[in-house]
Every structure is written in C-alpha cells, then in structure tokens.
Symmetry: C2
Subunit: 255 residues, 2 copies
Amino acid sequence: MATPQTGAGDPQRSLELLWREFGPQHSKPGPKPKLTVERIVEAAIAVADREGSCFGMRSVSAELGVGAMTIYRYVPGKRELIDLMVDRLSRIGSGAPDLGTLDWRDGLELVAEGTWEVYRDHPWLLEINQKRPVLGPDSLAGYDFVLAAFAAHDLPDKEINLATTAVMNIVTGTARQYLIRDSAEERPETAEEDWWRAQAPYLEHAVASGRYRHLGRFSDPEAWDLTGHDAMRYALDRFLDGLAPRMEASRRKPA
Amino acid sequence: MATPQTGAGDPQRSLELLWREFGPQHSKPGPKPKLTVERIVEAAIAVADREGSCFGMRSVSAELGVGAMTIYRYVPGKRELIDLMVDRLSRIGSGAPDLGTLDWRDGLELVAEGTWEVYRDHPWLLEINQKRPVLGPDSLAGYDFVLAAFAAHDLPDKEINLATTAVMNIVTGTARQYLIRDSAEERPETAEEDWWRAQAPYLEHAVASGRYRHLGRFSDPEAWDLTGHDAMRYALDRFLDGLAPRMEASRRKPA
DNA sequence: CTATTACTGGGTACAACGTACCCGATTGAA
DNA sequence: TTCAATCGGGTACGTTGTACCCAGTAATAG
C-alpha cells in the first residue's frame, strides 16, 4: 500500500551520496564497513524488481543478510535511497553508439526505445513520485547523451530543452499507462482477462443506454488491441514528424 | 510517505460503486445513513487537495466529522475510494462546447488544456498509481467527449485510439514532471530556489570536469526557464503538426 | 603496549497507517 | 410487538519507516 515520494526529503543528503566518489576518502577509526552504498542500491533495485515500488526497507536488509537498521548507517532514509536507485538506472546509452554519428531522428528514437526498455525491466520506476529530479552522475550523463542528437543543428537552446523534455515525457507518460499494470503481479494475463470481464457488463449497459454516442460508433474490436509499445511509437513518430521541419530548417551549414 | 495503488484491489467493488445510481434502490431495515458516497468522495477530494496524495482515511473521516471507521460502511477500502475520486474528476468538458462543432485540432487542444487544468488543481492525481483504469460514468463521458473531435474524419478506429491515447499521455507525462513538485508544499517558490542552490555546486563541478561535453555547450541561461505549460504545449503542438497530414487526408467528403 | 575514541551492526520501540472486528442503538418488515 | 438487518463508534492488530541505545571493533595518541 505504500509508494514513496522522493526528491522532497533532503536533497543535500542525496546529492552528497550521488557524487560521493568525487569526495575525499580519508581513513577513519572503527571497524571496516561490511557494506557499501553500491551494494545497497543494487540490492534495493533487485528487491523492487521483485516486490514492486512498495518494497520495504526490511526487505532490502534481508536481501543483504543484515539487521533491519544496518543500512541506515549508509543511507539516511528511504527517500534518499530511491534517489540513488533512480540515478543508477539512468545509465542509458552506455553501450550505444555516440548519437553524434546518427541522424537526429534515429538518435531520438534510440533514446526513446532505450528508456522504454528500462521502464519495461523496472516498472516500479514509474510509480515513484519524484518531486524534483535529483541529478546524479548517471542521469546527467543520460541527458548529455541525448543532447548529442542536436549537435549538427542550430536549434535554440530553449527549443532543444523543450524537444528532449517532450520525448522523455511521451515515453514516460505512455509507459505509466501500460507498464504499471504488469508490475509485481502474479499472473498478468489472467488479471487482464478478469479486468475486462468485470468491466464488460457495465460498459455494454452504458453504451446501450445511448448516453455515449461516439463510443457506440467504435465498431472495430481490434481498435483496443494495441500494445504499450505501439502507443509509445505512435505518439513519438507523430511528434518527430512535427519536429522534422524545424530540424531541417536549422541544419547547420558546413563552413 | 504513503501513496496508494489503485485498480488492483477489487475492481468489481469499485465498479458497483461507480455505477451505483444505475442499480436498484429498495428500502432496507436499519437506521438512515448519515452519509452518502458522494459526500465522502467530495470530502476526500478536498482533503487530498489540502494534504496531497498521502492523505489518510482518518483525515477524510475527520473532514466529515464522523468516526474513523464510519466511512468503511460506504466504501470497501482506500483503493476503491480513490477509484471513485479519479472518476469524479474526469468530468471534463461538461461546460465546453460540443467538439463536433470545432475543428479537430481546436478540439484536441481544448481537451488537452482542460485535462491540464484538472491536474493543476488536483496535482495529487498525478501521484496515483493506477494499475488499470477503472472506467466509471464520468471517465467514459470524457472519452466519448474526445471522440467527437474525430467525427468528421474517416481515420481508422485503431488510429483514433492511438491518437487520443497519445494526447492524454503527453499531457499526463508533462504534468507529472512539472506539477507534482508543487503538490502539498508550504512554500513552492523557496523550495525551488533551495533545490537549485543545492544542485548548483555539483553541476558546476561536473560540467567543469569536461565529462559532459554537450551540457557544457548549453550557454543560454534562459533555456531552463520554461513553465510546465510551455513544455506541454510544445509537445502537443509538434504532435498535432505530425498528426495534421493524416487528419487532412482522412477528412470525410460531403455526400 | 595501553588507553582513547570514533564508528560499526543489531535490537528494541514508537508513531502513523489501513482496516478487521465487536458493540449498542436504530428502524423497516413480518 | 418482535425480529433482523444495518447504522455509527471504538478498540486493536499488523505493517510501515526510523529514532535511539548498546556492545563490540579498530585506528590513533600516549
């Protein structure tokens, strides 16, 4: 029943942890730490993949085989841990080619598909309510990666920002509608059937009442038979169609 | 810390409540109910507007001036209550003109703007994790309302579905990025400043390191100065630009 | 070497949450 | 009038995040 909010707690603490490898590392008294922040983040992602976004801190502790409160020695709280998990999964495009070598459209499609795959593999990401995005090394690298798609053009900075934001929000918005429902569910296919079976009588009654005129004209039963990926691609493709003239007009001339 | 999930609990119960006015109403023994489902949903929305999506059932009870458990006589649980709240706020376009009298593009823009306003007034809606949408009378009416925009065209049913889904997801995706952060916050403007002040040194250090080549070229400081509404309109406008040729090609000829 | 001191992991405990359950009061139907 | 179903309210339980305390450990100062 619990899904967390993040980015609101203490951004300062999250930031210190996100950029921790850039800080000083002097030796200190006391026992050697048994864990590392990396291991905790990795374990938490594994638990969230299994249990969904409502994973508990006690599950993370159990996954690591330590006491319930031990991980609090490394991470100030759950919100900050989620900030770390989100940044960790923003490592898209690390294996992909440099977008500078691709056409702008192929590049943006690659970014969208890559992001879609991250959401498909970790649907609980879509249930995280980020108040403000906490920018870590990996999310910053991801953003830098996208910007390469615009390198050969002279689009104004503001419009570059608008366009990349749009692509990300199209992917995220569609993913939220289609991918959340499969997260942490025992039998997704039967759940889908049950759901339709429950709705059907009410829908038929409603349409038969004549109060919904346009819905009744929706005859093709295959109209509803579309995947989340189809929906994402349609929105993305039309958006890129609309962006194309502006990109072509701003193509940088070779000097 | 708690944001609920919905659509997963018992859809059957939610549906019975959503379509309750269409069911039989026979008199039964026992005292007259003090409350109605409508009043509870209305009160819950008021509480959520004030406290955010992490509102508690006890707050709803207090808002109505009844005992903590009383509302459970009317609503089986929190998840089902949220289903009712979501459907209640799907009453868009009730005061708007019939989309059949408008151009398709004006119609879709109207729907997008109306949805945006609902999210602006009730940002907690964006934090609700709907597993599957539970279709009630109001959300069905909203969908029927959108379909009117395609009445004068011969677009295939499947593509109508794809296009409307795309518009809704563009609005929802952008709203989620920009509107959640202001939900249930004491001082949104100072929070924004604090957040940037916390990030700035890390960002500067990162950019100065040269690891993020394209980010460094982002010179115009105004590039980041955009509102959520700007971002939504840009994504929507480019999408509609891309949809336009297909809509024009499918315009129904007068017989 | 010893004493100091910071830091470790583990355990207990608390407040807030959703809600199962029980109870006395109330009211329509037989 | 009697019966039974339903009402509002109160108590209590399990689960959550996490504040706090404690005993053990290891680097450093003398």
